[in-house]
C-alpha cells in the first residue's frame, strides 16, 4: 500500500503509524469526555449536551437490539463505536491516516468483541448452559452442529476485521488512484511548462478532479465512515444479544408483565 499512499505527515520514530494515530484518537476522545464531564449539570450545555445526544443514540440502539437490560454494556459498545467513528473520519483529513485502515487495529477491536460476547454469555447463563447452545436443538445433531458453530463463531471476528479494513483501505486506495490518475502534479507540471494550451488543459483537469473529489468521493467516504462504525457496533450488539438470549428463554417471558399486573 505504501506504493501509492503517501505516508502521514506526523510520525514518531520507532512507532508504527497506526499506533501513533490510535493515540491521537484516544487523546481526542479523552479530551472530549473530559470537557463533557468537567462541569456536569442536570441541564446540559455545550460539550456535555453534544456527548449526551450521541450516547442517547447508542442507548436507543441498545434498547432496540438487546433490550433494556443491555444498557450495562453501554460503556463497551459506545467506546468501540466512538473510537471506530473518529478513526474512520480522521482518514479523511489530508495528511492524517485512519488507524482503522490497518488490519492490526481492526483485529484488536474484533478480538475484544469476540472475547467480550463470550464472556457476557458465560456470565449471564453459566458455562454449561452457554456451551449447550453450541450443540444445536437436538442432541443427536451435536457432532454435526459443534464444528459448524465453532467455525461460524471464529468467522465473526474475521469478517468484522476484514469488512472494516476493506472499506477503509478501499476508499483510501480509490482516493489515491483518482489523485494519481488525474495527476495534480502532472497537470500542474504540464501547465507550468509554458504553453497556453498546457495552462488550459491543466486548469480544467484540476478543476474536474477537485470537483469530483470534493463533490462525490468525500461525501461517499463520510457516509461509508458512519455506516461502517454503525455496522460494527450493530453486529457487536447482535452478537451480545445472541449470547444473552438463552437466559431469557429459560425464564418465563410474561413474568415481568404478570408481576406488574398484580400490583
Amino acid at each position: 500500500m505504501e506504493a501509492i499512499e503517501h505516508p502521514p505527515i506526523f510520525r514518531l520514530p520507532g512507532v508504527p503509524d497506526h499506533v501513533t494515530y490510535t493515540w491521537i484518537v484516544m487523546i481526542i476522545l479523552i479530551g472530549l469526555s473530559w470537557a463533557a464531564t468537567r462541569r456536569a449539570s442536570l441541564v446540559p450545555r455545550g460539550a456535555q449536551n453534544f456527548v449526551e445526544v450521541i450516547l442517547e443514540q447508542f442507548i436507543q440502539m441498545i434498547d432496540d437490539v438487546i433490550g433494556v437490560e443491555g444498557r450495562r454494556y453501554l460503556p463497551f459498545i459506545a467506546t468501540l463505536g466512538l473510537f471506530i467513528l473518529v478513526s474512520n473520519l480522521m482518514g479523511l483529513v489530508p495528511g492524517l491516516m485512519s488507524p482503522t485502515g490497518n488490519l492490526m487495529t481492526n483485529a484488536a477491536c474484533a478480538i475484544i468483541v469476540f472475547f467480550a460476547y463470550h464472556y457476557i454469555g458465560i456470565k449471564t447463563q453459566g458455562l454449561g448452559h452457554y456451551l449447550k447452545h453450541f450443540m444445536g436443538p437436538v442432541p443427536a445433531l451435536a457432532p454435526l452442529m459443534i464444528p459448524i458453530e465453532i467455525i461460524s463463531h471464529l468467522a465473526r471476528p474475521l469478517s468484522l476485521t476484514l469488512r472494516l479494513f476493506g472499506n477503509m483501505t478501499g476508499g483510501h486506495i480509490l482516493l489515491a488512484i483518482i489523485f494519481f490518475l488525474m495527476g495534480l502534479q502532472g497537470l500542474i507540471g504540464f501547465a507550468l511548462s509554458g504553453s497556453l494550451g498546457g495552462v488550459i488543459v491543466g486548469g480544467i483537469g484540476g478543476v474536474v478532479m477537485i470537483a469530483f473529489t470534493v463533490g462525490f468521493l468525500y461525501p461517499l467516504k463520510i457516509l461509508v465512515s458512519f455506516l461502517q462504525a454503525f455496522i460494527f457496533v450493530m453486529l457487536t450488539m447482535l452478537y451480545i444479544a445472541s449470547a444473552v438470549e438463552g437466559a431469557e428463554h429459560d425464564e418465563p417471558h410474561g413474568h415481568a408483565e404478570s408481576h406488574a399486573a398484580h400490583h
Partner: protein, 106 residues
C-alpha cells in the same frame, strides 16, 4: 474480429502482451497473471455483489412501502444484510490487494 483475437491473446498469453518489457522467456507468468486475476476477480465480485444487494434493497423497499410503520426496523435489518453481503465482495478486494501489493507468489 482481428482486434478480438488480439485481445483474447493479450488476456490468455500475458507473455505475448508483455513481450516488450518481459525480462526473459524463462520468467514466471504468475506475476502478470495475478494482476489480471485481481482485476477480473474484483469485477466479478462487484457485479454479483450489486445483483445481490439490489435484490435485498428491492424487497426491503417493497416491505417499507407496504408497512411504513415498520420502516425503521426494516431499514436497520436491510443495512445489516447489506453489510453482510458486501463483506463477501470485501473479501475479494482483500485478496486482490494481497495479489497486487503483497505478492506472496512471484
Amino acid at each position: 474480429m482481428r482486434s478480438l483475437i488480439l485481445a483474447a491473446m493479450a488476456v490468455l498469453v500475458p507473455s505475448v502482451a508483455l513481450a516488450a518489457d518481459a525480462p526473459a522467456a524463462g520468467g514466471s507468468l504468475v506475476g502478470p497473471y495475478s494482476v489480471l486475476v485481481a482485476g477480473f476477480a474484483m469485477a466479478f465480485a462487484a457485479g454479483l455483489c450489486a445483483l445481490g444487494q439490489g435484490r435485498a434493497i428491492a424487497s426491503a423497499v417493497d416491505a417499507m412501502a407496504r408497512q411504513p410503520g415498520a420502516a425503521a426496523r426494516i431499514q436497520t435489518a436491510m443495512i445489516i444484510g447489506l453489510a453482510l453481503i458486501e463483506s463477501l465482495a470485501i473479501y475479494v478486494l482483500v485478496v486482490a490487494m494481497i495479489l497486487l501489493f503483497v505478492q506472496p507468489i512471484k
